[in-house]
Structures are given as C-alpha cells and as structure tokens.
C-alpha cells in the first residue's frame, strides 16, 4: 500500500512523545490565554474571543498522555446519577476527557451531556465579567462595584420592606458546601424564602416519602437496580433524563430477565426497552396505582407479614383502593384492567421489585399524594428495605439531593432540621451565633388580610415563599401575601428563568422587581426575557468543575470533586461571592466563624467539616473531606452491585461508595454509610436499620413503632422510639457515654438535658452508643400508609386543574382554595372556571412536558454548548400523527401551540410522532430565548446568547400547585395546536 500502515506492534505501545509546542515547555496556561486572546485586556472585546486555545493545546499534546498531563477527577454537573468526570489537564488547560472506568456509578460511561462537559469550562458563550443594565444597555463592571452596588441596594430594600422582601434562589448545581453556605447566608440575612430547583422537581417526593418512612430520598441506589426482578418506571424517562442509570436498569433487566414495566403517557425512549408499556392519561397516577393495588388486595398478593410488622394503617388504604375497580380505573386513566392485573401480579410476586419514578409523578397538583401512593404500593408488597427493592427516585440535577439535604428549602434548615426553635438553636450552636441575634434578623409581620400579626420568632418559624410562586409574591396585592411586604428583590444563583409555569406572569414579575441579580455561568432567561432597564446585575459564577466541593448523588452517595481548572474568564466560585456579599452586608464574620477563608475564598473542606459537626439528623456527620477524597482515590475498589469496598482495605475498608447518608457518628467511627435505607437484614454499623420513628409512638391506640421487626444484631428486639438522653437514662445507656460526650450533652440540654437527642447531640455520643447497641439512632418505627398531617392523609385522585375530562371533575375535584406557604392557592376556583367555560373544548389537547437527553434544566448552559446544541436546534412539540393529520400539520413545520391562560402562544416546530397518544402533545422544557414568536437573542449581553434559543414550554403552562410543597403542574395542562 502506498501509505504508512499502522503497525500492530506500535499501536500497542504508549507513546510519550509529545510534539513540539508542549515539549518546548513554552505553553503554560498564561500563554494559552494570551495566544487565544483570553487575557483580561482582550476580554473587553469578549464577543469576538477566539477559543482556539483548547484545541491548540490538544493539538500540541495530542491525545497522548505526556509528562505534563495532570489527571483531575470531578463529578458531572448535569444529572443526579453522579458520574465521575476524568479530565486531562495540561498546563492549566483542560485538553481531554477520559472514561472513568474506576467509578462504580458510571463505569467509564457518559451521556451526551457528560461526554461534552469539557466544553462548559471554555464555552465562549459564558458570562465573562460582571455586568449591569444601565438604561437598557449592558455595561461591564468590576466585581467590587458589583458587590458595593448590590449590597447597598439590598440594604436599602431591607430597611424599607424587610428581610423577606428579598427572595434568595439557590441552585441544585451548587456543591454541598455552597448550598449549605447559602442556606446559612439566608438564615443570617433573616428569611426563610430561600429555595432551589428541588421545589420544581422532587419537592413532593421529599415531602411524600419523608412523611411515609422518614427520609425523603431514594431508598436504594442505581446500582442496586441490578438486583431487581421487576421494575416499574412510572412517570420517568431515565433513557433521556438519567442515561447512565439505564446501564444498571438494562443490566438488571438482562441479568435477571427482569420485568421492566414503563407506565407513562408517552412512549419514551425508556419505554422502547420495556417488557411492558402501559399508556396512561396524564395526571391519573393515583387511579393507576390504586388500580394495581386493587388487584393485589383482591388476590391477596400483598406482603401481610411486612405490613403487620412495619406499616401503620394499611387498612385505611384498602378502603380507598376498593373504590378503584378495574372499570373505574379504565374509565379515568384509560388503562385496561387486564394489563394492570398483569403488572400487579408481577410487582407483587416476582420480587424483589422496585419502583422508579421521576418528575412525571411529582410535578402535579397531587404530586405529594402521587408519591405517597407509590410508597404505599412498595409497602403493600414488602418491596422496601432489601436489595433490588425500594423507591428508586431519580432526582434531577447533579446535586439536587445535596442542596435539598442542606436546606435550600423554604420549609427547613440544613439537614431537615425543622423551622422550630429547637432546630434554630441547634444550628445557632453549630454556627456559634446567638439564637437571639438570628431572631432579630427576621421581620415582624403586621396583621393583614384578616390574618394575625406574626412576631419575629413566629416569622422565623414560618416557611417561606416557594420558588414556584416568587412572581406571584411580586405581582399579587400585598394583603394576599403573608409577610411584611411583597418581594422586591430577587437574588438568583444558578437557576434558569424559564423553569416556572405561567411565564407571561413571571415576566410581569421580573419587570416589577426593584433589584434582580443573576449569579450564574450564563446570563439565563432572566437576563433576556424581560424589559428591564436598570437595577439588573449579572455575576459570572464558575461551574462546579472549576471549584472544589462535594456533591450528593441521587443514591445519597457523596462524591468529592476537585477543581479541574481555574475559573474561566473573571468568574468566581459561589463560596467567594457569598462571602464577599456577606462581607458587604456585615455578617461575613458570622458566616465563616469556623470556616477558614483563604484569599477571600472560604475553604470547601472546612465548610464540609462544619456540616459534619451539625449534620446528625441525616447522618451527614461521618463524611469528612478526608474520607470522601479517599473514596475518589479508591473508586476501583468498590463493588459494582453492593457499592461496598472490601473490608480489609486500609483506606476505605467496608465503606459503601460515597458514604451514602446516613453515615452515623463522627468520621473516626468509620460508619460505612447506608447504601440501602431501612434494611433490617444488616447491622446498623453495616448500614442497616428500620423505618424512622419520626411521627411519635402511638396514634389512635395503634402503635407507630415496628412490631417484631428490628435490624440485625439489635439489642432491642422490637420497635423503639428515637433516642434522647432521656431514653438513654431509662435504658441505662447513659453510662456508655464518655465524660466529654456527657459534658457536651449536659451543656446543650441546659435545664432539660433529657430532650437532647441523637440529632442535637453535638458530641455524637448518643449516635456512637446507639451503634454499639446495634440500634438506629432515629428509632425503629412503622411506615405510614396514613399520613394524618397531610391534606389527603390517604391519597385520593383529583383531576388536574385543567382537566381534559370535565365530566370527572365533579367526582374528583382538586382541593378547595387554601392558603399555603404564605400564598393563596386558588386551584379550585380556577378548575371550576375551566369547566364552566368549556376550556377543554377550545384546548382539546393535553400538554405535557419533559426532558431531552442533550439538555439539562432550563437549558442555558447546555444550549450554549455547541456539541450538544447541534443535536437539538429547534424547540418542538410532539404531536400525534392523528392530531397532525386533522390539523394539516406536517413533520418539521412551524406550528403555534397556544395555552388557555394569558392568551399565551408559542411558535415551535412540529414533530409528528406516535410517541404521544391521540390528543396528547409533548414539549421539552429546556428552551427559552424566544417569546411568543419573537426571537429575543439581541437582549442577551453581546456574545453570551446561547447557541440555540427557542420558545419556553412554560409560556403556555398553567395554574396549579401542590398543597404541601407548592409544586407546580407542568405535566398536565391543555393546549391547542395550529399550523403557523
């Protein structure tokens, strides 16, 4: 042959020869930047930045790992699976990505987003320096100017309208440390209106699951799905939303020849791999689950022993389920009884069986009830607390689990400590801040709208406004908003603007704000969709790939990510920005009292140590930075299925990967973490335990503690309540405490030492002693089939606010108008009006929304990544072939999708497909930048517009909020589609 043949021998030898540029050692990071015009001077003309640097570096070093190549490990910043990202860095430039074979979670693999993640840190569409809007023009400003002006404005607004008039929105893309720091920041500022994306993805899961058995999180792990013999995926499309989880799902399906049942309104990419696909009408999850349970109860397939030992009030569920005969289920949901019988039999009899759900179950006005019904299905069949079973809830963003845990939530403090005096005092002790000072930071709320006034203490203990309602809290009349004043300023960290329903009203809200600050790697929708002229700031924040910190995957494993490269452009990390803002606002000393600050940047490891010191309630106490880093070093030692390292390993022996919480006691105890929650077949020291005894010991004469069920090796061989010093004394276990531990407990308890619990004992003594006795610190209770504190203690079906079946609304109405979380919820009135006006006739198509694999969340970051953007260039609507034919719509043509509120309409491309059934349309939620047919590209600061823009589905989504968490309804509304 005429051209050089690759020699087979040579092909196997690793070449160390690094070509010219790098071998000469002339190209350090500075030189790269200079060459590519990325130095500060050139930043002025940022719009024209030429980003050849990475390519050049790569070219010079090629793919050969040369002596200058440094390998850095971080965690993918997209979904919650927690894939390890392995970066090759040459002279400070991220030049290549290698598969992370050592990680037991992703085993080298990535999805489109993870495989393209290198682009994030060098994207030319990043926000490059702080900017402000001045008379409608974007102006570059310095960081100092930004801190000064924002700080002054915040102070002024606070003085005039109170602390609650500033809304703080955090991010599920934060590291744990940043999430914690921001929650602490919110507390020191004096508000509970501090939220993040969990509100709009799994807040109902957290509420529903925690109210059932203690903790609101995935009970098992992605890897554990490999053990399942039956899996139901309901309202989830992991093939697009969590692609790496499908590795485990499909492996499980293959290894065990498992049943994989997909229940969804849409024939998704996941459904394509199911053994059985059940198409339901959007918003009828409860009828379907009760329909499954009807067959289970009818045939006696339930796990009677499990129910007797570990479940409270299953009989209340039986009564409700009895109403859902196969005929009624089919009438409401459209699913034939015979199919559900098949599903029921498999789930109950071919065990272990697991239930997987995502936002298809949670984003409803009945989200919490949906989730509860799903938990009850697991409980009834005994599919909890064992390998291969459980509620495998796939969370959304990379660290949405961690950010939820660390309290970026309007209803709790870090690690689910309630907004009660005990919770506040606990954190005041950890922070070494006076409780009284904290209280003084909160507003007094005057009496208005017929409601009583609230003192500072009461306001401190009152949940804040949810992020789904932030614009209602700007727009509504002040007397309807249960706080001192409506929201005037909005501080957005790492959160898109297109994520809330009813966008036209959200845009009104944006325009009314006195101050809008967006701190994000990208300008986000907030910067582009409104008609603001002034008082708007954009702060460039680096991605978590450019900083140190830990993140909690959906399976509760915590992984440490190390900084891969320095923050791009002038961007700064969250720690620094929060610290500098706190400095300006005067409480930086309190924010970082026990946290080392180096060069103005709080140290991530120190923040985690503070979390460890206070994180008893959720078992965030054992995951020291040193242990987490050891896990990253020893990834290859963990088992693929059990996630456990061999016991004899010196560094990570016996640990579960990422020390999934709860990881009890101090790090020195070396608790291995809990890979599977509520697993009674394991000793507590091995990660076992029962259900959390969270709801008391008895109700209506029935015990709430487990009966004849306890974890392996437990000294107490029955149910038991959570442990306090008082209980310890009764058991005589107080003698097992060391003098130091005892001293700490007595100091915390003051006059009432008996109330000091496993969750408030800062010494960790109670947890240590519990472990020695083989008992769970949180007790051993029953899971609740009846959660009496929730609006619907036993879940009942309620039609969506915009029901496509008005005739069912009378029988299954949504909940009456109520006030929740400082805001009115008028769902019932809206639903009545919808039925009365015959909206379902004008808007006959059900509109549901969801994810694409290429994009993430609001999509600003991923749509700015050309490798991803190229794959999805147009916002589209999936429309059924039949509906398209009736409307004369062809595949690929422009159509108007109009919604029933605000005369809203969106111009999108038609994707004619049978993925959606007749009368159903689907739109992805990642797009924004077009608004009602108008391209808003020019509104972005020059050069920061994402590569791909499109209509936001939320322009046409409508009213509807879950009564427990304020979750918005995105999965079931109505629309009409017409050719454009």
């Amino acid at each position: 042959m005429l051209i050089k043949r690759k020699s087979g021998e040579a092909a196997r030898t690793k070449h160390q020869a690094v070509a010219a540029g790098l071998a000469a050692g002339v190209l350090d990071r500075r030189a790269f930047l200079r060459k590519s015009g990325l130095t500060a001077g050139a930043l002025a003309a940022a719009g024209t930045i030429q980003l050849g640097s990475v390519r050049k570096a790569k070219a010079a070093g090629s793919s050969a790992v040369g002596p200058d190549t440094v390998i850095k490990k971080n965690v993918c910043t997209h979904c919650s699976v927690g894939c390890t990202v392995t970066a090759e860095v040459v002279n400070g430039v991220w030049v290549g990505q290698e598969p992370s074979y050592a990680s037991p979670i992703n085993r080298g693999t990535h999805c489109a987003k993870g495989a393209a993640i290198r682009e994030l840190v060098s994207s030319d569409r990043r926000l490059k320096y702080p900017m402000k809007l001045e008379g409608g023009e974007w102006k570059r400003i310095s960081w100092d100017q930004a801190y000064q002006e924002i700080g002054d404005k915040l102070t002024a607004i606070r003085e005039k309208n109170g602390a609650d008039s500033v809304y703080w929105l955090g991010s599920a893309k934060f590291t744990n440390e940043a999430a914690y720091l921001m929650r602490k920041f919110g507390a020191l500022w004096g508000t509970n209106s501090i939220d993040h994306q969990a509100r709009i993805c799994h807040s109902t899961t957290v509420a529903g699951v925690a109210n059932t058995w203690g903790y609101g999180a995935q009970t098992n792990s992605y890897n554990d799905i490999r053990n399942a013999k039956t899996m139901i995926i309901l309202g989830g499309n992991p093939a697009e939303a969590h692609p790496i989880s499908m590795q485990h799902v499909l492996s499980g399906k293959e290894i065990n020849r498992a049943n994989m049942i997909v229940i969804d309104p849409r024939f998704t990419r996941t459904a394509a791999h199911a053994t059985e696909y059940v198409r339901i009408r959007s918003g009828t999850d409860i009828p379907v689950v009760w329909g499954i349970l009807w067959h289970i109860f009818q045939n006696g397939w339930e796990d009677k022993e499990f129910i007797a030992q570990r479940v409270y009030a299953m009989d209340d569920v039986r009564k409700e389920v009895a109403k859902w005969t196969p005929d009624e289920v089919e009438r409401v949901s459209g699913v034939p009884g015979e199919q559900l019988r098949r599903v029921a039999e498999k789930f109950a009899k071919e065990k272990p069986a697991t239930l997987i759900w995502c936002m298809g179950a949670t984003q409803h006005t009945v989200g919490t009830a949906n989730v509860r019904a799903l938990c009850i299905l697991c409980l009834a069949t005994g599919n909890v607390g064992k390998p291969g079973t459980g509620a495998n809830i796939f969370r959304g963003h990379t660290n949405v689990q961690g950010a939820t845990d660390l309290g970026l939530d309007v209803t709790s403090l870090p690690l689910y400590y309630g907004l009660v005096e005990g919770g506040w005092r606990h954190w005041a002790r950890v922070w070494e801040v006076e409780y009284e000072w904290l209280q003084s930071r909160f507003d007094e709320v005057p009496a208005k709208g017929g409601r009583k006034a609230r003192t500072r203490k009461e306001n401190m203990e009152s949940p804040g406004i949810t992020s789904t309602r932030w614009f209602d809290a700007v727009n509504l009349p002040p007397e309807q908003i249960d706080q001192r004043s409506p929201v005037k300023a909005f501080m957005v960290f790492g959160h898109g603007g297109n994520t809330v329903t009813r966008m036209p009203e959200a845009i009104d809200g944006m325009n009314k704000l006195e101050l809008l600050v967006v701190a994000d790697p990208h300008p986000t929708t907030f910067a582009a969709l409104d008609a603001r002229q002034d008082n708007t700031y954009l702060l460039p924040i680096c991605t978590s790939l450019e900083m140190d910190g830990s993140r909690t995957a959906s399976n509760r494993s915590i992984q440490w990510g190390e900084q891969i490269v320095k923050p791009a452009f002038e961007s700064k990390n969250d720690y620094e920005v929060l610290y500098r803002l706190a400095e300006k606002l005067g409480f930086a000393d309190k924010l970082c009292k026990n946290i080392k600050v180096e060069n103005g940047v709080p140290v991530a490891e120190d923040i985690l140590r503070e979390i460890n010191r206070g994180g008893w309630s959720t078992g965030y106490c054992g995951q020291s930075p040193e242990r987490l880093k050891a896990h990253m070093r020893n990834q290859h030692k963990f088992d693929l299925v059990t996630l456990r390292a061999p016991k004899d390993d010196p560094e990570v022996g016996g640990d579960y990967y990422g020390l999934p919480w709860p990881c009890w006691g101090k790090p020195e105890l070396r608790h291995p973490g809990s890979a599977i929650l509520y697993n009674t077949n394991l000793h507590v020291k091995e990660g076992g335990g029962g259900f959390r005894a969270r709801f008391g010991t008895e109700r209506n004469g029935q015990t709430l503690l487990a009966e004849n069920s306890f974890s392996k090796g437990s000294d107490l061989t029955d149910g038991y309540p959570e442990f306090t010093f008082g209980v310890f004394k009764k058991l005589g276990w107080d003698k097992d405490l060391t003098p130091e531990e005892l001293a700490t407990i007595l100091k915390i308890g003051g006059e009432k030492p008996d109330t000091v619990s496993w969750a408030t004992d800062l010494s960790g003594g109670i947890q240590r002693v519990c472990l020695d006795h083989g008992v769970s610190p949180f007790g051993n209770g029953k899971a609740r089939a009846n959660a009496w504190n929730l609006p619907d203690p036993v879940p009942v079906h309620r039609e969506p606010v915009y029901s496509p079946r008005p005739e069912l609304v009378a029988k299954y109405p949504t909940r009456p108008d109520e006030r929740q979380l400082r805001m009115p919820n008028i769902g019932f009135s809206v639903q009545k009006s919808v039925v009365d006006r015959g909206v379902a006739k004008q808007f006959p198509i059900i509109l549901t929304s969801g994810r694409l694999v290429e994009y993430e969340g609001g999509g600003e970051e991923t749509r700015s990544n050309p490798w991803l953007a190229e794959l999805q260039q147009d916002m589209f609507v999936e429309i059924n072939t039949g509906d398209a034919a009736e409307r004369g719509i062809k595949d690929g043509q422009w159509v108007w999708v109009s919604g029933p509120e605000n005369s809203a309409k969106t111009k999108v491309k038609a994707l004619v497909t049978d993925r959606v059934g007749k009368g159903v349309a689907f739109m992805p939620f990642h797009f924004s930048g077009w608004y009602q047919g108008k391209d808003m590209r020019d509104y972005y600061p020059k050069g920061t517009d994402p590569v791909v823009l499109g209509e936001s589905v939320n322009t046409v989504t409508t009213y509807g909020f879950d009564p427990v968490t304020g979750m918005q309804e995105t999965k079931c509304t109505l629309c009409q589609i017409a050719a454009a």
Partner: protein
Amino acid sequence: MRRATTFLSTLLLAVMLFAVPGALSPAQAQNPIQADGQNPMGARPTADSVNEEFLFKQESKIRGRVSIPDGKSANLIQPQGREYQNFRERWLPWIGALVILGMLAALGVFFLFRGRIMMEHSQESGKKILRFNAFERFTHWMTAVCFIILSLSGLNYIFGKRLLMPLIGPEAFGALAQWAKYSHVYLAWPFMLGVAFMFVLWIRDNIPSKVDWAWIKAGGGFIGKGHPHAGRFNAGQKGVFWMVAGFGAAMAATGLMMLFPFALTDINGMQVMQVIHSVIGIVFIAGILAHIYIGTLGMEGAYDAMGSGKVDLAWARAHHDLWVEQEQARTGSGPQLKGHPAPAE
C-alpha cells in the same frame, strides 16, 4: 456466475432507476419471534423489536429519525453501495477498456483496409466554399476542447489510479487528480453551453430525411465507389450530431444530479446517475473517437471545415452535393471564393 448476476442486477438498477430488492443481501434472522418479519406492533416493546430483516422487507434501505438537520443522515444502512462498488470496480474498467480500445482497434482496422479517403479532383478543385462560419467553429471547438478534457479527466476517475498512479506516485497523482476533478466539474459548464449552441445552430440541417436513408444504403460512400447524395450534413454526421445532443444532454443531466447531491435524488439515485454517466461517457468517447478519425486522419479535406471553415468546392460537391447546390442557388454565384489556388494543407 455470481458476477454475472450482480452485473445484471446492477444494470437493472441503472435502467429501472430503483434498487432491486432481490439483489440485496438478506439480513440475518436474529430474533426468533421476529423471524417471520411480522409487523411489530403491540405493547411489548422488547419482544417486538424491529430488526434488519424486517426492515429490509419493507424497503430497500433502513431509514429512521435523527435530530440533526441533515436529512440524509437518517438513512442507517443503504446496502446498494455494495452493488455500486461492484459495478464501478469490477465492471466499469472492463467496459471502458473494451469499448474504447475496441473503437480504436476498429478504426485501426478500417484505416488499414480503407486507408485515407482522398480528395477527388475536378475543375472545381482549388475553389473554396464557406462551410462553417466563425461562430460555428468557435462553438465546435469550445465543445471539443471541453470534451477532450472532460474525457481525460473522466477516464482518470476510472483508470487514473490503475495506470497513472503507479507511474507518478500518489502525491503527484493526488494533485493531478485534484485538478482533473476541478476541470471536470468546471469545464462541464462551457461544454453544456457548447452542446446547447450546436443544437440550436445545426438542428435545422440535421432533421433526418429520405436522402439519409439512401446515403446509408449506399454505405455513405465509405465502401465502394461514388458518393451518395447528401445535404449540409450526411446521415453519418447527423448521427454524430444526435449523439452529441443526446449523450450531451444525458451526461449533463446525470452530471448535474451528481454535482448537486440530494437536490433531486437520493443516494441510490446518485449511484444510478453515476452508472449512467460513466457508461454513456465511455460510449460517447468511443463515438467521438470515430468522429475525430473521420474528421482528420480518415478523410482528406474534411478537417478544413472546422479548421479554416472553408472547404474545397470539389470535396464539397462530392460529399455534400445537395448543400452546394442549395448554397449556390441561394447566393446566385455561390459562396465559392476566388484566389486560393492551392488546397488547404
């Protein structure tokens, strides 16, 4: 035998402009449930999965959906490329070599037997008559020059790597082929224009008539003695005209389809176009070789028609008597020119 079958199917492919499913390799049966190729519908997505065999039964290629705005990438497998490869590499070189060398051999044989057809002298010898005006000659030569380059560059696509590349080495050949490719693509345009001009210029004189039949029956004067009657163009020349017009149009049409991929046809269409283009091209080249032969080496005096435009009246009288009469009738004295005692060289 297998070769013959494939060749046949390829020709069918060319003629019928669509793929013959029978010629495709049958896909393997992987899925026992799917072995009968039943339509996979139902609610059991795993059990009902599609496979190659099933899809190839529906269509000759496998098509799906992609999200990128490049429609052609939605074609997953189009096995016709194998048939095309077979034609182009196994058959085309032989067809090309046989036809072109065959024509050269035939002309050689003819030359050996017949020799050069010499001018017959008469009293009109030495007088000139204008046969083609400047524009006609311009058009002819523009077309001819383009044709020669197109032929050579076209043949280079088939034979270059076989004949030229071993001689001059890959780098030089690569550069040469690059220029050949450019010239092929760019000179196609003046060629097409030239063909169009010629068509308009000469169509009037190329309508077949009864005289042509007589001319053919008389063997065109090539065989035996005497000249059959002929107008401005005899039947042989008319044949060349119609060949150029027809083949030229076909080459242009197929060439344009390939030059603008996916404008009018898909990949299979382009494969067919390539087959047609190459086969016609070879026949065309062979035909033009004969034309060149008779216009230069084969017949004394013929070249002048396109050389200077003026031909010897005696030659004209002998070969195109009807045309000479017509011209002389039209101009009275006739267009013969004086003062040129010697015949053109």
